[in-house]
């Protein structure tokens, strides 16, 4: 495992109190594999990744848990120094984080010389190499960001992230803002990078179709916690947590015959005052009394098997059958309007 996250807790202090954006998340990234971190807005996936990188907002702090990279425990202090070189981060809307007054090539060279301590000539050669790696023509190094299309800017952002040969790439919604054909090209490029460079990757996204296309493993987050994780094929075909089952139903599938989309009623909990026990309980069609008092948490990182944070995990197969029936969800939809 190149990265292990164990019981991570990240709290934001706001005027309204502490918001427990991530509350006990555990997952692992096997070396050379692509892990998809999937969940809806507010589930804590972006926060988790930013915490790993050490780029949390001012009012965020780690309130518990461990992050282990290549066998070494890391925290905010060590992350910054060591890890822009070994872990690279492509933030959300990286495309608009390119400085508009410098050419893209110049920005790439700057990363290489300032952070990588390369000489200018080495840097220039490497910049050309990086562009080639991400499928951009070398002649474009002299262009300004506004001359690039959205997809090209994203490629450039990825090139910058790869400049110093990281072993792990953390990408936050790298294809969300892109058109579907460009999106597919970027995803193919990421797969290609993984194979060529043996790069490990964590891809944060809300789109399970993207995860299905690109990722080897998937980690599903809900309300600050990891509720299911495992190989992509397994989790998508045979989900074990009711939330994942519901998410499957809510996601349109271009190729399926089903013409029914079933919403999950209600909305995610307020993270400044989360409910006791399982956080999905208020919306879960399979809720038991025990669910509201105690929650199952995913066991510590390191397990490659398919794990689910549900008290009724042993009944997963029959629950899954029931979940495929829209009526199951419509009953729980009456709790509250989403």
């Amino acid at each position: 495992m190149i990265l292990e996250v164990d019981g991570l807790k990240i709290h934001y202090s706001t005027r309204a109190g502490a918001v427990r954006a991530v509350d006990g998340a555990s997952f692992a990234v096997p070396e050379g594999r692509i892990v998809g971190l999937v969940g809806e807005s507010g589930c804590g996936k972006t926060t988790a990744v930013r915490a790993i990188m050490g780029v949390l907002a001012e009012n965020g702090r780690r309130a518990g848990g461990r992050v282990v990279f290549k066998g070494q425990a890391i925290d905010e202090a060590t992350t910054r120094k060591l890890l822009w070189r070994d872990i690279a981060y492509v933030p959300q809307s990286a495309m608009s984080s390119l400085d508009p007054v410098y050419t893209v090539g110049a920005q790439l060279v700057e990363v290489l010389t300032k952070r990588g301590n390369a000489s200018r000539s080495t840097a220039r050669a490497r910049a050309a190499e990086l562009f080639d790696l991400v499928g951009l023509s070398e002649s474009r190094l002299a262009d300004y960001p506004h001359q690039f299309s959205g997809g090209m800017r994203q490629r450039a952002a990825i090139a910058m992230a790869l400049a110093l040969n990281p072993s792990l790439l953390l990408a936050d919604e790298p294809v969300t803002a892109l058109d579907v054909i460009v999106q597919r090209q970027i995803l193919d490029m990421l797969r290609d990078l993984q194979q060529r460079l043996r790069l490990s990757m964590v891809l944060v996204t809300h789109d399970i179709s993207v995860v299905a296309y690109l990722c080897d493993e998937v980690v599903v987050m809900y309300a600050g916690q990891v509720i299911e994780s495992g190989p992509v094929r397994e989790v998508l075909a045979r989900p074990r947590h009711p939330y994942t089952m519901g998410l499957r139903n809510a996601f349109p599938d271009l190729m399926s015959d089903a013409l029914e989309l079933v919403p999950i009623g209600g909305s995610p909990p307020d993270l400044s005052d989360p409910p006791p026990g399982c956080r999905f309980a208020p919306r879960c069609p399979f809720v038991l009394a025990a669910c509201t008092t105690s929650a199952a948490l995913i066991a510590a990182a390191g397990k490659q098997t398919h794990a689910s944070a549900c008290l009724r995990d042993d009944e997963a197969d029959s629950l899954r059958k029931a979940a495929m029936d829209p009526a199951t969800w419509q009953r729980s939809s009456n709790f509250a309007m989403s």
Binding site: E40, S41, S149, G150, G151, M152, D179, V180, I181, V182, Q183, R184, Q185, L187, D188, R191, H206, D207, I208, S209, V210, V211, A212, Y213, V232, R233, L236, A237, G246, L247, R248, N249, A250, F251, P252, D253, L254, M255, S256, L259, L261, V262, P263, I264, G265, S267, S333, M337, S338
Partner: protein
């Protein structure tokens, strides 16, 4: 089926600031957002307009609502051309054709209460104040927000995305329009919320007999709402036909690439290379003849010379391509 909206050869060019050289040369560069679009929307139809950014779908939606004027061509609503509409005629049109926005957080004035926001169309249409509460209540019922007291006095920032989008829909429905244009109505909502809104839109459409145009980049979504889809590329319609047909057997090479590019929640999906190359060309200088030819895997010499027109290849299915695609 009566035709409600009729577009004929609609062209929209956005002039671009000229450089000195262009002024001297007498050139008038423009972004050619739409170049000759013609189609009909029948009463009660649900039509999807699908395409990537820059294809002109958003502009088309705005043109159909007379928020923007066409450079050339004609648009008619219920037999009346939109071009000359003003005053009372325009107000009458505005009552019948409404828009549902992409971003629910921005579509409502943050300083208005929810009630005020939904009642605004009634104010603009000069409806008697005594009727307002009734109409607002009935619009709220339609969008399944029946507990009025919970919402009416609140401000937009106090509601969730899904609730806001229902309010936006309520506002669009409060005047009982006949025609709705929805521009990416769920793209800014969370996945688990989208399903609810889409189901609502389907239900509203059926119960009110609305004609609707859904603009989206997401083919998978429009499948749930529309029986008919128009695929657009760089300002032109390239394929117009039944949604299921287009998804299962796309005919136009661009449609084929589009359908192949959509990922699905299946780990065993195809990862074959897309039958398309290059990037979208500059909308100021599209390729001559067929606009897709420089990316098309099956382009022929003829494609550069003559722009293909939409021609029927089956009942209710048109394609703009020189290839024999029947």
């Amino acid at each position: 089926m009566a035709t409600l909206v009729e577009l004929r050869d609609v062209v929209k060019h956005f002039p671009v600031a000229r450089s000195l050289g262009e002024v001297v040369r007498g050139a008038h560069p423009a972004v050619r957002a739409l170049d000759g679009v013609s189609f009909d929307v029948g009463s009660g139809d649900a039509v999807a307009i699908v395409g990537e950014s820059g294809c002109g779908k958003t502009t088309l939606g705005r043109l159909m609502l007379k928020l923007v004027e066409p450079t050339a061509g004609s648009i008619a609503f219920d037999g009346t051309p939109l071009a000359g509409l003003a005053g009372e005629g325009l107000r009458h049109f505005r009552r019948q054709a409404q828009l549902v926005f992409q971003n629910p957080f921005d579509a409502l004035n943050p300083r208005f209460t929810i009630y005020r926001a939904v009642a605004e169309p009634l104010l603009n249409a000069g409806i008697d104040k005594a009727e307002h509460m009734d109409r607002v209540a009935s619009a709220f019922r339609r969008v399944h927000l029946p507990d009025l007291d919970r919402y009416l006095d609140k401000y937009p920032h106090q509601l969730s995305g899904g609730q806001l989008q229902r309010v936006v829909l309520a506002r669009a429905l409060v005047l009982a329009p006949r025609f709705l244009v929805a521009d990416e109505p769920v793209s800014m909502l969370d996945v688990s919320v989208r399903a609810g809104i889409l189901a609502l839109m389907r239900e509203v459409r059926d119960s009110m007999g609305l004609s609707a145009v859904y603009i989206s980049h997401d083919l998978a979504l429009v499948r749930y709402l529309c029986e008919r889809t128009l695929v657009m590329y760089l300002g032109c319609i390239v394929e117009d036909g039944p949604t299921e047909e287009i998804v299962r057997r796309p005919r136009h090479p661009y449609s084929q690439a589009l359908v192949a590019a959509v990922p699905v929640p299946d780990a065993d999906q195809s990862r074959a290379p897309l039958p398309i190359s290059g990037n979208v060309p500059d909308a100021r200088e599209p390729p001559s003849g067929c606009r897709f030819r420089d990316r098309c895997p099956r382009a022929m010499a003829h494609c550069a010379e003559e722009t293909p027109l939409l021609r029927p290849i089956a009942d209710g299915h048109r394609v703009a391509c020189h290839l024999d695609l029947a």
